[in-house]
C-alpha cells in the first residue's frame, strides 16, 4: 500500500508471532552499559534463566503494546473527571475559609483543599508529567507543559523522577530516591552515626515533603561533586525561585488577604492542607518503594541488563498497597507502584485493571508480588527506618553492643 495509514489502525498484529523486542532500537541507558561489552547483568539470574527473562520481557512488552492500542475516550474522560473533582475541591476548600465562623467550615476547608492538592500532585501531576496523556494531544495534559501545585518545578522533577529514578530503580549510587539522601532505608546504604537521627529525619521529611522533593530535584551535590559548575547549576534550575514565590504568595499571602479579617485562619488552613498533602505523598511513596522484601542492586549487577531484566528490576524494586478504588485514586494509583514501574507512561487507571494479569505472570515465573494493606506496608517502612538508624548487627550477635560501629565500605 502506498498511502498514509490511519492513525487509529494498529500496524502491529496482536495475534502474529512477530516478536516485540523493545531493545531493538533503544540504547540501554548509558551509565548501565559496562566497559566490558561481554559481561552480562546478573539481575534476576538467581531466579530465572536468561531464556525465561527474555520471555518475561517479551510478555510485558506485548502487554504494553496492547495497552497503548486500547487507549481512547474512556481514559480521556477519566482524567478530565479527576481534573473536575480537583478543581471543585479546591474552589470549595478555598471558599470555606471565607466563613470560618460557621461550625466545621474551617476543618472542611482544610479537608477539601488537602484532597484537591493530593489529586493535583498524584493522580494528575505525577501521571501527566510521565506523559501518560500525551497521546491525547491536549496542551493542558501535556507532560512538557504541566506545572503542579508544589514548590518544586516540574522540570527538575521530571529529570530526577522520570529519568533517574525510573531508569535506575533501586540501583545504589544511581537511584537518588533511595532515602532521598536523608533517610537510611536500605541495609546497603553505609551506616554513619548521623543516622541515629533516622526516625526524626523521616518525620521531618514527611512534614516538609514538597520542600524535600524540591531540594532533591535541585541536585546541589552535583556542584559539590564537581559534575556541574555553579553557573550550569543555576541555569538548570532557572525559574525555581519564581515558582517558590508564586506558591508561597498564593497560599500564605493572597488567599489569606482575600479573606480579610480571617487572614490568620486562612493561612493556617492553607498550611494545614499543604502538610496533609506532604504527609500523604510521603507515605504513599515510601510504601511504594521501601517495605520489607523490596530489593536493591549494585551498578555492577545491573550493567548490560536485558529488557526482561529491566522489567524484573522494576517488579522487585517496588511494592503495592492494597485498598479500594477511591484509595487508589487518592494515591495517584501509585498504590499500584509495581504496575506503574513496569509501564510508567501508561495511564494510571489501567494499573488496577492489569494488576491481576501482572500477579498471574509473577506466579507463573515464581516471582514475588509485594503487596499489602497500608498499615502493614507503613509499619514495615517504619520498622526499617528505626532498624537502619542503628549500625548492622554482627553475625550471630543479638544485643545492642554486638553491632558494627564502623561504616561498611562496599558490600
Amino acid at each position: 500500500m502506498t498511502a498514509l495509514r490511519e492513525n487509529d489502525t494498529p500496524l502491529y498484529d496482536a495475534e502474529s508471532t512477530r516478536v516485540y523486542d523493545a531493545t531493538d532500537h533503544d540504547m540501554a541507558p548509558e551509565p548501565l552499559v559496562s566497559d566490558d561489552a561481554t559481561r552480562t547483568s546478573t539481575v534476576g539470574l538467581d531466579l530465572l534463566t536468561p531464556e525465561e527473562l527474555d520471555e518475561l520481557g517479551r510478555e510485558l512488552d506485548a502487554m504494553r503494546v496492547r495497552l497503548l492500542a486500547e487507549l481512547g475516550q474512556e481514559d480521556a474522560d477519566y482524567i478530565r473527571r479527576v481534573m473536575k473533582a480537583r478543581t471543585a475541591l479546591e474552589v470549595v476548600g478555598r471558599g470555606l475559609f471565607f466563613v470560618p465562623f460557621v461550625p466545621g467550615a474551617w476543618l472542611g476547608g482544610v479537608a477539601s483543599l488537602s484532597l484537591s492538592k493530593i489529586l493535583d500532585n498524584m493522580e494528575i501531576g505525577h501521571n501527566v508529567m510521565h506523559g501518560q496523556y500525551d497521546w491525547m494531544n491536549d496542551p493542558e495534559l501535556s507532560s512538557k507543559a504541566f506545572e503542579w501545585d508544589t514548590v518544586g518545578m516540574a522540570k527538575g522533577w521530571k529529570n530526577t523522577h522520570n529519568y533517574v529514578h525510573h531508569t535506575y530503580t533501586n540501583i545504589h549510587g544511581k537511584d537518588r530516591d533511595i532515602g532521598y539522601g536523608l533517610v537510611r532505608i536500605d541495609p546497603d546504604q553505609p551506616w554513619h552515626p548521623a543516622y541515629l537521627g533516622n526516625p526524626v529525619y523521616a518525620m521531618a521529611l514527611a512534614l516538609l515533603f514538597e520542600w524535600g522533593v524540591l531540594v532533591h530535584d535541585l541536585e546541589r551535590d552535583r556542584v559539590t561533586r564537581g559534575e556541574e559548575t555553579p553557573e550550569e547549576w543555576k541555569a538548570r534550575n532557572a525559574g525555581t525561585l519564581a515558582k517558590i514565590r508564586r506558591q508561597l504568595l498564593k497560599d500564605y499571602v493572597v488567599f489569606p488577604a482575600l479573606t480579610g479579617p480571617f487572614f490568620l485562619s486562612t493561612l493556617l488552613g492553607n498550611l494545614s492542607a499543604n502538610l496533609v498533602r506532604n504527609v500523604w505523598a510521603f507515605a504513599v511513596i515510601f510504601c511504594g518503594h521501601f517495605p520489607a522484601d523490596v530489593e536493591s542492586w549494585t551498578e555492577e549487577e545491573a550493567e548490560n541488563e536485558t529488557r526482561g531484566q529491566w522489567y524484573l528490576r522494576q517488579l522487585h524494586g517496588s511494592a503495592n498497597i492494597s485498598g479500594g478504588r477511591l484509595f487508589h485514586i487518592m494515591t495517584g494509583n501509585l498504590s499500584h507502584q509495581i504496575e506503574h514501574h513496569l509501564f510508567p507512561d501508561i495511564p494510571s487507571r489501567r494499573y488496577p485493571q492489569i494488576a491481576p494479569e501482572i500477579r498471574a505472570i509473577c506466579e507463573k515465573y515464581g516471582l514475588k508480588y509485594n503487596t499489602g494493606p497500608l498499615s502493614r506496608q507503613l509499619g514495615s517502612v517504619a520498622k526499617k527506618i528505626t532498624r537502619y538508624a542503628l549500625p548492622p548487627r554482627k553475625r550471630g550477635g543479638r544485643g545492642f553492643f554486638d553491632r558494627e560501629w564502623t561504616a561498611p565500605h562496599g558490600r
Binding site: L11, D26, Q73, M83, D134, M136, E140
Partner: protein, 364 residues
C-alpha cells in the same frame, strides 16, 4: 459576539493568575464551560453541510477570545476523536467582514484523511472545537492593486475564495481575474456562488477550467500552461497574483511567473504522503527551531537530531521517561517499538522511539 469585556480582561490578567497558579485561568473556566476560555480559542460547530460529494463546509461560532482572520489566512483546527485531539490546518473561507463572528472552513475529504472524513461523517452541530488564532501571511493587502489575479486548483480555492468574497463585500470595483482549476463542476466547491459573482460583479472575471470534464464553451482546456495567462488577458509582469493549490500547479505557475518577472504569492497545503512499504528511508527531517535539516537515514529522530549536531534533551532512550518528548510540527513517524504510525500535525512524540516516515518537521 461582544468584544473582550472588562471581566475577560481581568480574568486574563496576572492578578487572577496569582490566584490560579500554577494552573491557568482557562483550567478553571474549562471545568465550568469550555467556551468561557480567555486564552484559548474555542468555537462551537453550528452547521455541517455538504459542499460537494467529497467536501463539506463547517460553520462555527467562536468565543470572543478569537481575534478574527484576514482573507487568505488559516486556522489550526483541533477536534477530539476517541480521546485524541487531531489538529489540521484549514483556510478560513469567510469574507473578512464576517470573520469576527463566524469561522467557516470548507474541507475536501482526503481518502486517507482521518479528520477530513470525520468532518464529513462524524462532526455534529454543538461540538466544541479547539482553534488557533488565524495564521499565515497569504493575505490580501490593505491596498489591493488595480488588477489582481487569483489562481487556484482543487481545494486550494478556499483561501482565494475568502479573498474574492472579501473584495465583493468591500464593494471593490477594479478588475480581478479569478481562475480556478477543478476536475469537474461536480468536484468544484462554491459553484453557485461563483456563478452569481460572475453574473453580478462586473469587475470580476471568473474563469473555471474543468480538467477532466471540460466545458465546450470554455476559453482554455486542461491543466495550467503559460498560454492560459494570455487567454485570460493576465499580464504576469503587471498583475500581482495569488496562487494556491496542489504542488504541481504552484510549480508550473511559479516557473512561469519567475520567467516573466511577475509578483506571485504562493500557498501550499502540506499533506503528508507516506509509503510504508518503501524499505529505504526517504524524505527530509527538518528541525524548525534551529533551522537545520537532514536527509532521513531511517534512524530514530533523536539519533538523527544528534547526527545533525543538535543536543535534544533525552533521558532513558527507551521510551520510558518521556524526557525527549518533542512537538512534531508535521509529518509521519513510526514508533519503533509498537510499529504505530502517527501523522497528526502539531503533536507531541518521544523522539527516542520514533523514526521518520518521509518528511518530518520537528520543533527542535
Amino acid at each position: 459576539m461582544a468584544r473582550r469585556g472588562p471581566i475577560r480582561a481581568l480574568l486574563a490578567s496576572r492578578y487572577v493568575h496569582a490566584l490560579t497558579t500554577p494552573h491557568s485561568v482557562d483550567h478553571y473556566l474549562d471545568r465550568v464551560h469550555p467556551m468561557l476560555s480567555v486564552h484559548q480559542v474555542r468555537a462551537v460547530v453550528e452547521e455541517v453541510r455538504p459542499e460537494t460529494d467529497a467536501a463539506s463546509t463547517v460553520v462555527m461560532r467562536p468565543n470572543d477570545t478569537w481575534r478574527g482572520a484576514r482573507a487568505g489566512q488559516h486556522v489550526q483546527f483541533g477536534v477530539e476523536v476517541d480521546g485524541t485531539r487531531r489538529i489540521r490546518c484549514f483556510s478560513v473561507v469567510d469574507s473578512e467582514s464576517d470573520t469576527r463572528d463566524r469561522i467557516t472552513v470548507s474541507v475536501k475529504v482526503h481518502p486517507e484523511g482521518y479528520v477530513s472524513q470525520h468532518l464529513k461523517e462524524g462532526l455534529r452541530p454543538g461540538t466544541i472545537v479547539h482553534l488557533s488564532q488565524a495564521e499565515g501571511d497569504f493575505v490580501l493587502d490593505d491596498h489591493v492593486p488595480d488588477h489582481l489575479t487569483l489562481i487556484s486548483g482543487g481545494s486550494g480555492i478556499t483561501p482565494v475564495m475568502a479573498m474574492l468574497r472579501t473584495l465583493r463585500d468591500r464593494g471593490h470595483d477594479r478588475p480581478v481575474t479569478f481562475v480556478h482549476y477543478a476536475r469537474s463542476r461536480a468536484d468544484e466547491m462554491f459553484s453557485d456562488e461563483l456563478d452569481a459573482i460572475a453574473r453580478d460583479c462586473t469587475w470580476a472575471r471568473v474563469e473555471r477550467i474543468y480538467t477532466r470534464d471540460p466545458d465546450p464553451t470554455a476559453a482554455v482546456e486542461g491543466r495550467f500552461t503559460p498560454d492560459h495567462l494570455d487567454a485570460f488577458a493576465i499580464d504576469a509582469a503587471r498583475h500581482p497574483t495569488y496562487v494556491c493549490g496542489p504542488a504541481g500547479l504552484i510549480d508550473v505557475v511559479g516557473e512561469t511567473y519567475d520567467k516573466l518577472g511577475g509578483d506571485l504569492r504562493r500557498e501550499w497545503f502540506k499533506v503528508p504522503t507516506v509509503d510504508l512499504d518503501a524499505e529505504d528511508a526517504t524524505g527530509t527531517v527538518t528541525f524548525e527551531a534551529s533551522g537545520r535539516a537532514t536527509d532521513n537515514d531511517g534512524r530514530t529522530l533523536l539519533e538523527q537530531a544528534e547526527g545533525s549536531g543538535l543536543a535534544p534533551e533525552f533521558g532513558c532512550r527507551m521510551g520510558i521517561c518521556n524526557t525527549c518528548s518533542t512537538r512534531k510540527v508535521h509529518g509521519a513517524v513510526r514508533n519503533v517499538i509498537t510499529g504505530e504510525v502517527r501523522a497528526d500535525t502539531d503533536e507531541k512524540i518521544k523522539i527516542c522511539v520514533n523514526a521518520p516516515v518521509g518528511d518530518v518537521c520537528l520543533d527542535l
